[in-house]
């Protein structure tokens, strides 16, 4: 199939995703990833620390009670699965490991900052651009301003690191 030979035009890909997202919005809710990741963090913590210890942390009893019966988790798992299938079919699957220590450090700090950001705002980049802003939510506009400012600062740091 041509799909697995050539790179797909991102405009076509995103237009299809948008139409599917509207469908998902009608049956359950708009596309989001942060919620599923928060729940996954809770489930991992429950497994590692035990349910009793986790119950002493208010966030995991008042806001997110860890459960597998939460649809947003399966969007995340599905994305990994779909990408794996696509990569295998187009012979693009291979192990890629960052080579430089500076990359590992940047990925670690970046990952931590993303996690802290999601927790603080209850929003991730996907719900910002594909959920809240198209729903014309004021929180979406605040989040877009935040992410653009953050990406600008991040690009500045990134450039400095590359030049160093």
């Amino acid at each position: 199939m041509d799909l697995f030979k050539k790179t797909l035009d991102p405009i076509i890909a995103l237009a299809i995703i948008a139409l599917l997202d509207v469908f998902l919005f009608v049956i359950v809710g708009a596309w989001t990833v942060g919620g599923g990741e928060t729940m996954l963090a809770g489930l991992v913590a429950k497994y590692v620390l035990g349910a009793k210890t986790l119950a002493r942390i208010p966030f995991w009893t008042l806001v997110f009670t860890p459960t597998w019966a939460y649809w947003k988790i399966y969007i995340s798992l599905g994305m990994g699965f779909g990408a794996f299938v696509a990569a295998v079919l187009s012979k693009e699957f291979y192990w890629r490991v960052p080579r430089h220590l500076s990359e590992w450090v940047m990925i670690t700090i970046g990952g931590l900052l993303m996690g802290i950001g999601i927790r603080l705002s209850f929003v991730c980049n996907v719900s910002t651009f594909f959920g809240l802003t198209p729903e014309m939510n004021l929180g979406g506009y605040l989040a877009v301003s935040g992410i653009v400012a953050g990406a600008w600062v991040g690009s500045f740091i990134y450039k400095k690191v590359l030049e160093a």
């Binding site: 991102p10 076509i12 237009a15 299809i16 995703i17 948008a18 509207v22 009608v26 049956i27 359950v28 809710g29 596309w31 990833v33 990741e37 928060t38 991992v44 913590a45 942390i57 806001v63 399966y74 969007i75 994305m79 699965f81 779909g82 990408a83 299938v85 696509a86 890629r96 960052p98 990925i107 970046g110 990952g111 900052l113 993303m114 996690g115 802290i116 999601i118 603080l120 705002s121 929003v123 980049n125 996907v126 594909f130 959920g131 802003t133 198209p134 014309m136 004021l138 929180g139 605040l142 989040a143 301003s145 935040g146 992410i147 953050g150 990406a151 600062v153 740091i157 990134y158 030049e163």
Partner: protein, 238 residues
């Protein structure tokens, strides 16, 4: 109403399709913002805007006829602060929430590492919430403004429709027009960049894959590799 299992199955099918399409198109939210700022490359930004235009019409259209599931979501200053940190993090990690899952599916250990630390960051900051309780969810997640806690309650197309009596699609059309204007602006800028490159260095413009909208990744990788003096296999994929 759809059952919980039905919701999870629908979410998994949706996620798998998204993973497949994102993998095949090499779309990335991080590069939609970063490449536009650093390299004046708008390939991913344009796709993002097209999706947002479709979604705005779709969502507000369904809200107008009393359908759909808009997020009942309390707006607060925390959205700005949180996404500011997220924005810095995603550029440093070279992956956002979507591409970290997609790249993990492709066998990228760096992306898996980013996901792992995203989850660690989430958990560690959830401990912090226990001491400060800010943003004060769910105590103030009532839809009512709580200005002392910097929370503004619910505010979206649905509340606009309920308060003004004007169908949400009217507001949606205004947002669509704004997004379309931005899209046109980018197209004009791209054309200006192309002519500028063509006039100054016709040879470089022809051979530079950076202006080639179909495959800009190697160009970005090359720029980065050139700047860093070494090529990082992880960042090239961003």
């Amino acid at each position: 109403m759809i059952t919980v299992t039905g919701q999870c199955v629908a979410a998994f099918i949706f996620g798998s399709t998204v993973g497949l399409l994102v993998q095949r198109s090499r779309w990335c939210n991080t590069s939609a913002l970063r490449d536009a700022m650093l390299f004046k490359n708008y390939r991913n930004t344009k796709a993002l805007l097209v999706a947002m235009m479709i979604l705005t019409l779709g969502f507000t259209g369904f809200i107008s006829v009393g359908n759909g599931n808009p997020m009942r979501f309390d707006v607060g200053i925390n959205q700005f602060i949180g996404l500011f940190l997220f924005g810095i993090g995603m550029v440093l990690a070279g992956a956002c929430t979507v591409s970290s899952w997609v790249k993990t599916g492709e066998g990228n250990i760096g992306a898996l590492w980013a996901l792992l630390f995203l989850i660690i960051g989430l958990f560690v900051s959830s401990l912090l919430w226990s001491f400060t309780y800010w943003p004060p969810a769910p105590a103030t997640m009532t839809g009512q403004p709580n200005l002392a806690a910097l929370q503004f309650g619910f505010a979206d197309a649905l509340t606009l429709q309920q308060k003004t009596g004007i169908p949400a699609i009217v507001f949606g059309l205004i947002q669509f027009a704004a997004l379309f204007g931005l899209y046109r602006l980018i197209l004009r800028k791209e054309r200006a960049l192309q002519t500028a490159r063509g006039q100054v260095q016709p040879e470089a413009a022809k051979s530079s894959p950076q202006v080639d909208a179909a495959m800009p990744e190697p160009a970005i990788g090359a720029v980065m590799a050139g700047a860093a003096g070494a090529s990082g296999s992880y960042q090239e994929e961003a």
